[in-house]
C-alpha cells in the first residue's frame, strides 16, 4: 500500500522586500522558504494512516522544484516519510499549477500509489489547483478541502468530510484510489524528532529528470502554461489612516469610527 503526498516549498516574505528586475516576482534574496503549511497536514494524515495500519504503508513525498527544495523534503523524511522524490529541470521555471500537476501526474503513474494527498493550496501562490489538476490528468475521483478522513489501507472507498462555507461540513463517500486535497486543522502535525532529522540527513532524495517521466522541456515552463505572470507589484496604499493623538483620544476616535460605521 502506498500513499503519495505532493508537497511544495513555499516562500514567505519579509516586511521589506524588493521586486525582481523583470518585475514578475520578488527578489529571491527576500524570500524565506519553508514547507507549505497545508502539506504538513497532508503528510501528517498519511503518517497517521501508516502508523495505524496493520499492513505496510509506504509514504512517498514528491515535489517539483530546484535544489533548495531538498530542505523541505528532508523535513518530510524527518517526520517519517519513507521516500522523497524531487523533479526538476531549469526549463520547468515559470510552470503554472496545471503544468506542475502534469509533472506530478507522470510521477504518480510511475509510482502507482493507492492514494494521493495534496494541500488544499499553497500559501504563496494560492491557486488551489495543483491537486485538482492531478486528479484531472489521472482521471481519478477527487475531493477538495478535506477536513476529516476515514480510510483504511486496502479499502476501495473512503469517507471524507469537506469543509464548506458557513461552517458546514459535507460528508462524501469517494472511490479509491483518489486525490484528496487536505485542509488545515484536520490533524495536529508533529515536530520532527532529532533522531528523525539525523536519519533524514542520510536518506537519499531521488532526483528525477523530465526525460525519465516521458516529458521534455517543451512540455513544461511558462511557454506551456495556460497562465503567465505579467507583473507583480505592490498596489498603492488604500485609505488606511493612522489614528494619532493621546491614547484616550485614539480610543475615542475608534469608538467614533465604529459608531459611524454602524450608523449610530
Amino acid at each position: 500500500m502506498k500513499i503519495l503526498v505532493a508537497v511544495k516549498q513555499v516562500a514567505a516574505l519579509e516586511e521589506d522586500f524588493e521586486i525582481r528586475a523583470d518585475g514578475k516576482d520578488v527578489d529571491e534574496d527576500f524570500m524565506l522558504y519553508d514547507l507549505n503549511e497545508w502539506d504538513d497536514y497532508s503528510l501528517e494524515e498519511a503518517m497517521k494512516i501508516k502508523e495505524s495500519s496493520d499492513v505496510d504503508v509506504e509514504v512517498v513525498v514528491v515535489s517539483v522544484g530546484p535544489d533548495r527544495v531538498d530542505e523541505s523534503l528532508r523535513k518530510c523524511l524527518a517526520k517519517g516519510a519513507d521516500r522523497a522524490i524531487r523533479v526538476w529541470d531549469d526549463s520547468a521555471e515559470g510552470s503554472d499549477a496545471i503544468v506542475v500537476g502534469r509533472i506530478l501526474t507522470e510521477v504518480i503513474k510511475k509510482e502507482a500509489p493507492d492514494m494521493v494527498f495534496a494541500g488544499v493550496q499553497s500559501s504563496d501562490q494560492a491557486y488551489a489547483s495543483t491537486g485538482i489538476s492531478v486528479a484531472s490528468y489521472l482521471n481519478w475521483p477527487h475531493a477538495a478541502v478535506v477536513a476529516d478522513l476515514q480510510y483504511k489501507p486496502g479499502d476501495n472507498k473512503a469517507v471524507v468530510r469537506r469543509e464548506l462555507e458557513g461552517g458546514m461540513l459535507q460528508e462524501v463517500e469517494i472511490n479509491c484510489p483518489a486525490v484528496l486535497t487536505i485542509q488545515l486543522g484536520i490533524n495536529k502535525p508533529r515536530y520532527a524528532s532529532l533522531r528523525g532529522i539525523k536519519q533524514a540527513a542520510t536518506k537519499p532524495i531521488e532526483e528525477v529528470a523530465l526525460g525519465e517521466l516521458s516529458l521534455s522541456a517543451d512540455d513544461v515552463g511558462a511557454g506551456k502554461s495556460m497562465s503567465r505572470v505579467r507583473r507583480m507589484y505592490v498596489p498603492e496604499k488604500g485609505r488606511a489612516t493612522m489614528i494619532e493623538g493621546t491614547l484616550a483620544e485614539q480610543a475615542a476616535k475608534i469608538i467614533q469610527i465604529i459608531n459611524e460605521f454602524k450608523g449610530a
Binding site: D16, D29, A201, E244, G245, T246
Partner: protein, 496 residues
C-alpha cells in the same frame, strides 16, 4: 554533501568528543571551523584580526544571510555593525529597525541617510531607542519631515532637552498640536515642558499630562477644577488627590470616573459602602479587588449578580477563608478557578477544587504553589493538557511524576517541566532531544543542566539552538563584567 549530513556524519562524531573550549581563542577557532553564519555571529564580538575577518566572511557569505542577520532580533550589535559596512540599502533598513543596533551604527546610518535625503531611514532612526541624543537633536533642528519629527516625539531616547527643543522649534505651528500630544505621553518629558504644553493644549493632551509620572503637583491641583470626564477619570485614580475631590468624583455621572475612585487606594473608607451598590458592574469589580474591604462589604459583593465581581473577590488575598470556601462552591467556574488561583488559598479548599468538574479549575489547582504533593500526584492522572501543564510547572511535583511528564506528547506539558525550577538534571536529560527547537533553546538556558549537556547541543539541526549554545559559551568564557553608560546606551565590556 549537505550541511545537515556533514553535521550528522562521521565528522560530527569527532566534534562531539570535544570538550567545551576554555578560552575565547579556542571558541572562535571552533566557530570558524563550524562554517555556520549563525555560529559566527554568536562569537563575532570576541574575535579580532584575521579571525574576525574569517567570521565576517561567513556572516556575509550571501546576501540572504546578511539580510536575515540584519533583521534577526538576536543578532549581536557587533555583527550589526559589521553589516552596516557593506553598503546595502535593504540591509540598512533592517539595521535601522533592529533593536540591537548600536548608537554608533545608527549615527553612521543617519549621516548617510541625511546625505542621500533618505527619509525612510531618517524616520526609522528618529524612532530607534538606541539613537543618540545628538543625532535626535540634529533631526529636531534640521529635518522638516513631519513623520520623522512625530516619530521622534514618541521616542524616550530623545531625553528632556531634545524634546524641549522640538516643542520650542514648532511652538505655535500646526504640527505642534500632534507633537505635544506625543510629548505629553513621552516618559522623558520634563515637568517644566509638561507644564508649558499643558497651558496651550486641549483636554486630551491635558489628561495625558496629568497621568504622566513627571507631572508637577500644581497642575494636578489646577486640574481638579475641571469637569471634563476624561480628566476626572485620570484624577480619580491619583492617590495625591484630596479626599473631598474623590467624594465629589464618587457622585459623577461618568462610570469611568467612579471606577477610578473605586480603584484608588487613598479613597476614604466611607465611600466603599456607597460604591458597593453602584449601578455599573465595572465600579463594583474595582471595589471587589480592594484590600481594605470589611466583612459587611464582602457579604454584599459575594451576592453580586456579576460573575466578574465575585471572581475579583475570589482572587483578593485579603478575603477571609470562610468567604473563599463559599466562593469555591460558586456556580460560575471562573469564580471557583479564581479561588484556586488565590495565593492565600488553603490546602483544604484546593483538595475540593482538585476534584472540580471543570478542567480549567483543576488546572488552577495544578499551578497553585500551595498544592501539596499528594494533590499533584492525583492531578497527574488527568488527561487534560492544561491540568498536566500545571502539574509539570509546579515545584512541589515529585520527580517521578515529572519524569513521566517529560514523555508527554503535548509540547506545553514538556515545556512545563523545563520551566520547573525543581526539575532535576536527570529528569530533564531526555528533553535535550525534544523535537521542539524552542525547548532545546530553553534547555541551554536551564541552570540544572551541566555544561557539557549544553555544549553537546552545538551542532543541533536548528540554527537558533546552535546560536544560543555559542552565545551561552561566550557568556561563560567571557562574561560581561563592565557596564557603563555613554549617551543613552549601556555599553557592555567582556572580560577576554
Amino acid at each position: 554533501m549537505s550541511v545537515l549530513s556533514m553535521r550528522y556524519g562521521k565528522k560530527q562524531h569527532l566534534l562531539s568528543e570535544m570538550d567545551m573550549p576554555d578560552s575565547t581563542d579556542a571558541l572562535v577557532k571552533l566557530a570558524i571551523k563550524a562554517g555556520d553564519p549563525y555560529v559566527a555571529a554568536a562569537v563575532h564580538e570576541l574575535a579580532t584580526g584575521i579571525s574576525k575577518r574569517q567570521l565576517e566572511m561567513q556572516i556575509l557569505e550571501s546576501r540572504r544571510t546578511a539580510l536575515s542577520l540584519a533583521r534577526w532580533e538576536h543578532t549581536p550589535s557587533s555583527v550589526l555593525a559589521a553589516l552596516s559596512n557593506i553598503g546595502d540599502g535593504a540591509v540598512d533598513i533592517r539595521l535601522d529597525k533592529n533593536p540591537n543596533t548600536s548608537s554608533e551604527v545608527l549615527s553612521t546610518l543617519y549621516e548617510d541617510a541625511s546625505n542621500k535625503r533618505n527619509l525612510g531611514l531618517t524616520r526609522l532612526i528618529a524612532r530607534h531607542r538606541n539613537s543618540e541624543a545628538g543625532i535626535l537633536k540634529g533631526i529636531v533642528l534640521f529635518e522638516d519631515d513631519e513623520e520623522s519629527l512625530l516619530a521622534l516625539s514618541k521616542n524616550p531616547a530623545a531625553g528632556p532637552e531634545v524634546l524641549a527643543s522640538l516643542a520650542e522649534r514648532f511652538a505655535g505651528s500646526e504640527l505642534a498640536v500632534a507633537l505635544n500630544k506625543n510629548i505629553a505621553q513621552n516618559i522623558s518629558a520634563s515637568p517644566d515642558l509638561l507644564a508649558r504644553i499643558y497651558a496651550v493644549s486641549d483636554f486630551h493632551t491635558r489628561a495625558a499630562i496629568i497621568s504622566h509620572a513627571n507631572c508637577p503637583g500644581a497642575l494636578i491641583t489646577e486640574a481638579t477644577a475641571s469637569d471634563e470626564p476624561l480628566i476626572m477619570r485620570v484624577l480619580a485614580k491619583d492617590k495625591t488627590v484630596a479626599p473631598d475631590v474623590l467624594l465629589k468624583y464618587a457622585e459623577s455621572d461618568d462610570a469611568g470616573v467612579r471606577c477610578g475612585v473605586a480603584a484608588n487606594a487613598a479613597m476614604p473608607l466611607s465611600l466603599i459602602s456607597h460604591l458597593l451598590g453602584d449601578s455599573s458592574e465595572l465600579v463594583r469589580r474595582e471595589i471587589a479587588s480592594r484590600r481594605d474591604l470589611q466583612v459587611e462589604h464582602i457579604a454584599v459583593l459575594m451576592a453580586d449578580q456579576d460573575g466578574w465581581v465575585r471572581q475579583r473577590l475570589a482572587r483578593n488575598t485579603a478575603v477571609p477563608l470562610q468567604v473563599l470556601a463559599s466562593l469555591a462552591a460558586d456556580e460560575n467556574s471562573d469564580v471557583r478557578r479564581a479561588v484556586a488561583r488565590n495565593a492565600g488559598c488553603p490546602v483544604e479548599l484546593l483538595e475540593i477544587l482538585a476534584a472540580d468538574k471543570d478542567d480549567w479549575v483543576r488546572a488552577a489547582v495544578a499551578y497553585q504553589h500551595n498544592s501539596p504533593q499528594r494533590l499533584l500526584v492525583g492531578l497527574a492522572g488527568n488527561d487534560d493538557v492544561d491540568v498536566l501543564s500545571g502539574v509539570a510547572n509546579n515545584p512541589n511535583t515529585p520527580q517521578q511524576i515529572l519524569e513521566k511528564l517529560v514523555a508527554s506528547e503535548e509540547a506545553d506539558v514538556r515545556r512545563g517541566v523545563i520551566l520547573n525550577k525543581a526539575a532535576s538534571r536527570n529528569t530533564l536529560l531526555p528533553l535535550l532531544e525534544d523535537p521542539y527547537y524552542l525547548h532545546r533553546i530553553l534547555m541551554v538556558a536551564n541552570p540544572s543542566m551541566h555544561e557539557l549537556d549544553k555544549w553537546n547541543l552545538r551542532e543541533d539541526p536548528d540554527y537558533q539552538v546552535r546560536f544560543s549554545v555559542y552565545r551561552w559559551a561566550v557568556e561563560k568564557i567571557a562574561p560581561i563584567n563592565t557596564r557603563y553608560i555613554v549617551g543613552n546606551e549601556v555599553i557592555r565590556r567582556r572580560r577576554v
